[in-house]
Amino acid sequence: MNHKLRIRCAMLSFLCCLCFLSTFSQSSFTIQGYVRDGSNGEFLINASVADLKSKKGVITNNYGFFSLRLPADSVYLTIAYAGFQVQQYRFLLNQDTTIKINLSPYSLDEVEILAEEVEREVDNTQMSAINVPIQQVKLMPALLGEVDVIKAIQMLPGVQSGSEGSSGLYVRGGGPDQNLVLLDGVPLYYVSHLGGFFSVFNADALSSVKLYKGGFPARFGGRLSSILDVRMKEGNLNQFETEGSIGIISSKISVQGPINKGKTAFIISGRRSYLDLLSRPIAIIASQASTNGTERVDVGYNFYDLNGKINHVFSDKDRLYLSMYAGNDRLLANGRFRYDQDEEEKFSLGLGWGNRMGALRWNHVYGNNLFSNVSATFSQYQLRTKTDGSASFPEGDSIYTESFELEYISRVRDWGLKVDFDYYPSPAHDIKFGLHSTLHRFEPGTVGIQSQAGTAKVDTNIIAKLDRPLESSIYLEDNIKIGQRFSANVGVHGTHYLINDQSTFSVQPRVSARFLLSKDVAVKASYVQMNQFLHLLTNSGAGLPIDLWVPATEKVPSQFAWQVAGGVSASILDDQLDLSVEGYYKEMTGLVTFKEGNNFFFGGLDGGSWEETVETDGTGTTYGAEFLLQKKRGKTTGWLGYTLAWNWRQFDNINGGLRYPYKYDRRHDISLVVSHKISDRVSVAGTWVFGTGNAISLPSGGYANITDPLNPDIYFFGGRGTPNEDLYLPFRQLHVDLQSYGEGSQFFNEGRNSFRMQSYHRMDLGINFTKEKKWGERTWTFGIYNVYSRRNPFAYYLDQDRERNGNVFNGYTERKPVLKKIALFPIIPSFSYQFKFKHK
């Protein structure tokens, strides 16, 4: 049976089940509605709605909606959400019922007493998924005081950060391209600022962040290793709120409130760095002062994020959302050098990269138990650099002028249409199905060149290969509960991928199951298959904007992975602690990497296709165990995570075809995060991380070579060499110059990534002082990054130390090779001032 037939059969079977389920006994009725935060009208995701009498319940979806079908009887409905007071309703269910639920948040001093509603891992069918506690993240110490959700995620077991300071994510041995980062359901391609030191997510604008490392539900697809589902706040429907912060390198502000109270709300949130406001005038003044005004140099860097969202409630059944995000990094440098009246040089460099995202979403409830979400989305990532320069100088009686202009653009654009349904036929089934279609447009590098030298002109555009693949997917999943102990999420995700009239169809089954051994202990297991139809060409892994996104093509096929995981979750010490232990094994195929010697500059820009620069059909094997102990309640909260992992890659033409450790193969990874509330006004937080050093390729040594008679790149006798044995033979010689571009000798190493960098560890501490003011609330946050100033390795490179030998021509003749380590951040103190205005 071929793939198409199989998927058709599966779909047909599932539709039959749906029909059966929807003809459930008419003695049952449906309770449906939305669960909101009563203080601001925000919908609450994953709130628990349960009938204590029948012991049946559901959780709210990503839009706060629920539908629960129960027998006609008296109902004792309990609605709970972490951090909110439980609400209970008693009524006789004798008809379909719609209710609006507004939960009230606990006041601060109640948290310790009433914390029954803390999410317990044992209760979740889903495994390998973690809700990131944004409020706790805000209290954690951060590099230069910039609160960063991604940095907090990096401290979870199974997630690695890559290099020091990087906001790249490496989940269960996957690459940085294998994470589907969704902002309000729209994929973002590049989530870093400042070369990866900060992420694009402004914590003030976010309502929830959930990371899936495995056991992916069928509604997600398109990446192999993780799903990061980030949801923006929707805007306060009841009153205006303003909050923000002023930090060392950036400030941010968020404003939200009702446009039409109870009906329409907005939120707009902005963040901007201000390094350039300082660096530009300083550079100008310094350059002019040191050169008597003949030189003027101006350098600066900034980034910004702008999040906005409007939502409108048409009725209990219809809502409309408009979300947008724009973020950009910009680096600029300008210089002018005036040597005399007629002789001048100028240059200008601009480098900008960033995302744009927009989504228009319509929620509609059909009847009592079918919820729909229709979205039209747009996403763009663009890197653009423009360099120009000119020089003029006297030549005879005239002024000779040379100029050039170089522009490089790399861009990915997505236009998407999504239709998702949530169907609640009975408390035992929560069915989701839908259709997604995305038109990608990849422009992996267009170069524009203009130059003029005297009367000669060049004006050229080199347009890289443009691809417009269409990726469509269909999915069906059911969250099944059988009895009180067993639950499972079973689904299938099918993807159709069309590029250059070549189409590919893949069917990816997903299963995740939980069995409760007791009230507090559950065993879980999952099996998933994932397909990914795009690749990231990267050398550094440091999250540099020059990494290129490219589509899967006929020559460079898609990536595929299967992952199996199993584990135990336990709630211990009367729900004080949540323990989770998981083991996983993942195999990946269709991986790509640059061919030996290729990179961003030495590859696709050479005028050839990027497809010629990569090795394809690589495989990856990764396995390990993760341990997570969380404390979610009480004055002291936090977690301890430990990962033991192995991570391998194998390509036919790399490392002699032998498997080798991935750069981020990290055997041990430990993270400890602790927050303690000393009083309502003072809290402290600390983190400590440890990781095995990255695996890198470092030469072990060198050996001599001799002049190659047929090497065209060897110059001798003032010109490009021709193999003329008569001339060549007497001069054949041994070369041992490791640093030279000439006929230098060669490095060798013991294999790809065979050298281990030093291990990484770091401690950060922070303290927060919060005070109520007449106008609202303010918080001073003081932090210390890298408390004991560990010189963690960022990179190694080979250099030469010159030793003075001053006898001859005041020269330096002795060169001693040294291996150097770059350590980026020593101890760095920081502070920020946060404020929150009350509006009446």
Partner: protein, 352 residues
């Protein structure tokens, strides 16, 4: 050769990224110790028909070993080198010391504006040669070297002198490609050369080289230079503005049969420059000499990887921020490093 535009792009982007990182970080260089490296034999030679046999024997060295200042330190003159031909012992080779120290050039030192560096280089041509007069190699001969020394693991390597390709025909397409220099906007013109040949059996690689016989009338008929052979750039691929790098062409598609090589050559000197054309200055081309080299597979692979490594290698801190995937240069020396390769060639002269 990489076009200047790419160097420019590389430099400006690199500066941009480096700047971005530096302004946000305190960078500290710390020296890192490395484990000791056990030295191994390095054997190097390229043999060809009709040329004497030799072998360069040296040792490998640790990454931090400062051997550049005294190259002779890595020679192993007291190694025992046995030479075999077609499986038969032929000779025990002897070491000949013929090195000299030469001053090559003076170079400024980055970061030390008042200083310059005297770059000296040992012309180390000391090598092992046969202890007696031996017949010169001919195509088809298989030579094997076995090297031993009490301080090193033994090493060995062998190579076969390839047969030259039989050149069947050569077709020239005049001015088949044009492009302009980025620097000055001048026109370059290329002729395409299509060579049909009969490939000797066994996996080989091909290199094609050319020389032009031309005269230059730039200074008028009275001062016309005598016609002479001059090297010309032969490139394998022309794609947009980028010249290829004349990597060896593998014979995988026509191994042992009739094959075609397509290369290009560039006219020498001024022929395409607008000023020259306006003033009637044009080189006069008489003949084109093509040399088609056949390389052993190991040699061709070595050369390909060597060129790739050189092109992609960035020095010092640049390599941190714009790293390339490391190029591993394979060796056909068992128990050691280096290359023992062989080649042969055929020549054809075209009248232009």
């Amino acid at each position: 050769m990489k076009h200047p535009i790419y160097k420019l792009a590389q430099r400006s982007l690199f500066i941009a990224m480096l700047f971005g990182l530096l302004i946000s970080a305190c960078t500290t260089n710390l020296e890192v110790p490395l484990p000791e490296h056990p030295a191994r034999f390095t054997l190097n030679t390229f043999l060809t028909e009709g040329q004497p046999i030799d072998l360069y024997v040296s040792r490998s060295f640790g990454l931090l070993e400062s051997v550049e200042n005294n190259v002779k330190d890595i020679l192993i003159p007291d190694a025992e080198v046995k030479l075999y031909k077609n499986g038969q012992f032929l000779d025990e080779m002897v070491f000949v010391d013929s090195s000299s120290l030469d001053t090559i050039y003076l170079s400024s030192v980055f970061g030390f504006p008042d200083s310059f560096e005297v770059v000296t280089r040992d012309l180390v041509s000391s090598k092992f040669v046969p202890s007696k007069e031996l017949p010169l190699p001919v195509a088809g001969d298989i030579y094997r070297f076995e090297v031993s020394h009490p301080d090193y693991e033994p090493a060995s390597a062998e190579t076969r002198i390839p047969f030259p390709a039989t050149l069947l025909s050569v077709q020239r397409v005049i001015d088949s490609v044009e492009d302009r220099d980025f620097d000055d906007g001048y026109l370059n013109r290329f002729d395409a050369i299509k060579i049909r040949l009969e490939d000797p059996s066994g996996p080989n690689g091909y290199n094609v080289w050319g020389e032009l016989m031309y005269t230059n009338p730039e200074y008028g008929p009275d001062t016309m230079m005598q016609a002479e052979w001059s090297n010309t750039e032969v490139v394998r691929e022309l794609d947009g503005l980028v010249y290829g790098n004349a990597l060896p062409i593998p014979d995988t598609e026509f191994d042992g049969g009739i094959g075609e090589l397509i290369t290009f050559y560039r006219y020498q000197g001024c022929c395409g420059y607008p000023e020259d054309i306006q003033q009637g200055r044009k080189n006069i081309f008489h003949q084109y000499k093509l040399k088609v080299f056949v390389l052993t597979e190991a040699y061709a692979t070595y050369q390909t990887k060597f060129i790739q490594q050189r092109q992609s290698r960035l020095d010092g801190i640049e390599s941190v921020f714009v790293p390339s995937e490391p190029v591993v240069i394979p060796s056909n020396v068992e128990g050691g490093f280096g290359i023992v390769g062989a080649y042969n060639h055929s020549t054809i002269i075209l009248d232009l």
